[in-house]
């Protein structure tokens, strides 16, 4: 895939660096500097003193439930999205009439704005009434209180998030699936392997690299879920917690919340990188 690179002439190398420089500068100014500011600011109080109190305030007020909730949402959402994406990608990897049309249709949720998705699903999953409850009542079931208990709000949020984001996962998995040579499957069928064994021993291992990429892209976004949680979810997540801490008089507790969020995301990303370097064969 990657062509071997011949050693460059010196001024060509310089030019290459020059071309990359603006992008790197941008990332430095707009990503690293603000992050450093956030981390730095989280250690200072309104009075200007250096202290860990902001973190103490955040954990004593909110406890660890925002972190736990964020993990729950991330893990369950990723699971749902990957299962759905595998199913859809398997369907789309087979030739059938109208496949081009269906590929386009499945991409539609990707284009619908997050806030629009949130508005629609908020309406569908209203505590009273709402379309979900209308539907349940029309088939003879009892209406569900979508803000009560553990599962209903989680289900509403997961469905909204998965509807919007499964297409991108499907896209990545599909591009991986079509690159698996069909001889592997034919051989396996000749050897008598059933569908499940083919999936676990051929499809999954060959897709490991693609799964890692999709996990990385989607996982980070899941930790950052914000607009949907604002409208649909009635428990505290790391993002909504930081937003509620934001105060024009004393912004430092919000910095602490934002720093915690950054820390959790970095830990997750590192874990994925480790998984990738250990299990993914370089293609």
């Amino acid at each position: 895939m990657i062509a071997t690179r011949a050693p460059l002439r010196l001024n060509d190398r310089m030019i290459a660096y020059l071309l990359i420089l603006p992008a790197i500068l941008y990332v430095f100014v707009f990503a690293f500097l603000p992050s450093v500011q956030t981390i730095f600011g989280s250690f200072f109080l309104a009075s200007g003193k250096f202290s860990l109190y902001n973190y103490q305030f955040v954990t004593s007020s909110f406890g660890y439930s925002p972190i736990v909730n964020t993990f729950e949402v991330t893990v369950i959402a990723l699971t749902v999205q990957f299962i759905a994406a595998f199913l859809i990608a398997s369907l789309l990897s087979k030739p059938f009439r109208g496949r081009a049309v269906f590929s386009a249709i499945f991409l539609i949720p990707f284009g619908v704005a997050t806030i629009v998705t949130a508005v629609i699903f908020h309406n569908m999953f209203s505590t009273f009434g709402g379309y979900m409850n209308s539907f349940l009542v029309s088939i003879g079931l009892k209406p569900i209180n979508w803000t009560g208990g553990f599962w209903p709000p989680l289900i509403a949020l997961i469905l909204a998030d998965s509807w919007k984001n499964t297409p991108i996962v499907t896209l990545v998995l599909l591009s991986g699936m079509v690159s698996i040579p069909s001889d592997l499957y034919s051989q396996a069928m000749v050897d008598g392997a059933g569908a499940f064994r083919r999936f676990f021993y051929i499809t999954l291992p060959n897709l490991a690299g693609f799964i890692a990429i999709a996990l990385m892209i989607r996982g980070i976004s899941e930790f950052n879920i914000f607009a949907m949680a604002l409208l649909i979810f009635n428990r505290q997540l790391l993002t909504t917690m930081t937003f509620s801490l934001y105060d024009t008089i004393n912004p430092h507790p919000a910095y602490a919340g934002a720093a915690i969020l950054l820390g959790i995301v970095l830990i997750f990303a590192t874990l994925i990188m480790l998984y990738r370097s250990r299990y993914v064969r370089v293609v």
Binding site: M1, R13, A23, I24, K94, G111, I115, G176, S179
Partner: protein, 279 residues
Amino acid sequence: MASEYKGPVQAYVIWIGIAVFTFLVLLPIYVLIVISFGAPSQTVATYYPYLVPTKWTLKNFISSFTGIGQNFISAFYKSLETAFLVAGLAIVLGFHAAYGLSKLPGKLGNLIIGVLFFSTMIPSLTVAIPLSETFLRLGLYDSFIGLGLAQELIVLPLSVFLMMGALQSLPKQLEDQARVDGASFGQALYRIIFPLAIPSVIAAFLLSWLMSWDEFTFAVIISPVHPTLPILIYLASSARGNILTAASFSLLVTIPVIVLTLVLSKFLRGSYLTSGLVG
């Protein structure tokens, strides 16, 4: 193509699967249309809304453009300006960075790719709060330039990877041949390489444009006074407006985006997303 099965039973399974997923995909769009055009007495002003309304009206749509709706046009332009700035910056910064990266030797190149990738991981909220402070001092608060610069963070790494994937799959001899024939570096880059990479450039442009159009976190913190469309919809779905206004705006925002997404799907191949990263 990995086509494993050929059989009539399997064809039914495929069709049922397609039908189920198509239904699930289109259902929320249906709900949006119903809320926008159904008579309120059958949609929002009733305990259990009708699953298929019998009374339809245009009044929701029309009355959405009074009051908070008058902001729709200015929000539309704010979103538009920001999206074009973001997409334009993405391909200008990104194409050159992608080309440079495709030329760099392994270790250093991978390091820079890692740095870029790392920057996608930083949560928007973490960056938005200090950025809004900085922008205040620079006079960029609430301007589309400030917002565009902030949103660029989400799209730049992805654009670089997209274009890098395309650039890496180009045969090396093309460029070498051009240089041997006496072309300068600039001519080789813009006359030979760039035209061949145009599909990925367009894909990066459209993708960045769509992501900016959709962006919420930065917009709500950096540009709240003259909001972009997503913020306007958010305000309309709280009691500042009402749900009917929010639904009408949502519909107006979604239709062109669906069209653009369908156009994008012709350009976007998953292989672009992944080739820069695998290995």
